[in-house]
Subunit: 301 residues, 2 copies
Amino acid sequence: MKLNILGCYSATPRTLNNPTAQILEIKNHLFLIDCGEGTQVQLRKSKLKFSRIKRIFISHLHGDHFFGLPGLISTFRLLGREADLHIYGPKGIKEAITLLLKLGDSWTNYRLFFHELNSKDSELIFEDDKVTVHTIPLTHRVYTNGFLFREKPASRSLNVVAVDKYAIDKSQFTNIKKGKDVTLDDGSKISNAELTFNPPKTKSYAFCSDTMYQESIVPQIKEVDLLYHEATFLDTEQHLCLKTKHSTAKEAATIAKKANVGQLVLGHYSTRYKSLEMFKEEAQMIFDNVLLAEDGRTFEV
Amino acid sequence: MKLNILGCYSATPRTLNNPTAQILEIKNHLFLIDCGEGTQVQLRKSKLKFSRIKRIFISHLHGDHFFGLPGLISTFRLLGREADLHIYGPKGIKEAITLLLKLGDSWTNYRLFFHELNSKDSELIFEDDKVTVHTIPLTHRVYTNGFLFREKPASRSLNVVAVDKYAIDKSQFTNIKKGKDVTLDDGSKISNAELTFNPPKTKSYAFCSDTMYQESIVPQIKEVDLLYHEATFLDTEQHLCLKTKHSTAKEAATIAKKANVGQLVLGHYSTRYKSLEMFKEEAQMIFDNVLLAEDGRTFEV
């Protein structure tokens, strides 16, 4: 699992600061999460393959998370895309995109599916045999969701030595990998634990931006490997969080600690601060394993 | 008069190629013409002052001329803008912008005026004591206007020596500057030509993009100092012009020649070509004074 940060700054795009967009590579998927203005240029810089993006998840309809989407959709058309594209985002996103396409008389020649969200509870919004994606309801000035990406457990892997030892027939391998015990011809029972190894641990990633400090998300993101939590401000500007419905680095770290996550990635920084190191220092007072998102940076789990 | 090219490439934004946007500095105005994705970042790079932009002219509602506008409007708000902003563009632009602001619950705290265009004839869309702006109806896949910016003639300047010679009273100076003749006390008439110098020649700029080759614009842009005419293709790709409703460098030069303009600036290049010099060479077969737009380049008249 690999997270590619295309942009991780709040508010206005600047020469060296891009608004929110990231690509999560998970089990052969390339999921685009948020799409601020300039995302397609950041995608080009990243060398990730545009055409592999099949699903786009938009947290909320503020410009710095969304205004790059109409252009990306148009670019897919210009690049000759034929594959379906699925867009998950707040109610209204379909109206906005279809109006912009209509005004430019620029219908896509691929199929565009909108999955509009308006539930205040977490929902399963995508699932295949390898991965699930759930919404994480957040608290911001407008309707906002984070997203929880989770690998499904793989099959158990066969302990070839043990299977040989008991001369178990191949026809039983599928059941064994599913975790079933085996009864031999002599009636003796071999426990699955003896015949298999645990599958690799599944990985999980939670994207939580934009949001104010909100403990109710803790149970849902419990023990995820990687948590991206917004940290727009430092604690010295905590008074701005209530008005703008954002979080501080300290608050992000508190959520990370309570949820006992593997690693915390901070992002969505206000451009008022001269250095990002202050965000890390503040968060590390609460939680050890803190990483700083930066445009172009990648994180592997 | 100074033209600042912020972006001059067609279709998709790329790492080093920005879609259409330019700033015309004319008589203390800073007019923004078109606003492709990434325009606000290009504006930052140009060091032009955001807040001086009071009027934005949008040629048509294709993404590469328009998708940077919602973000720029939001950024104006974040920068604390209070001054009115006027937007001139095709019918539908108001609906698109207001929908995007509504979805983000992000109303501007300055006044936003939309001047929607739908006439097929040229219209005077802005005028003050120094400048006029007219639309130039173009032919593209969607409703499109170019824009003609023209300085108004200044007053004639006083020939102080001549005025002294005839001992003309100051009270008559205003009329003389307006071009009136003077009758002296002895009844003799002094022609205005003897008392004044011509005012500086007024300057004019015509922006014509996107459009296919269209001779009907020639009378309107006759003898403008600077003509920006799109040249999406080279003559070798002329067959693409009919389908896409674009022009070649040769066609742009033909318009420039017929209109006897001062200088021709080419732009809106397709990114399929390796070098821009070929555009210049092709155009110079027809018309001498050819300049190449490039992102970040400026042209002074």
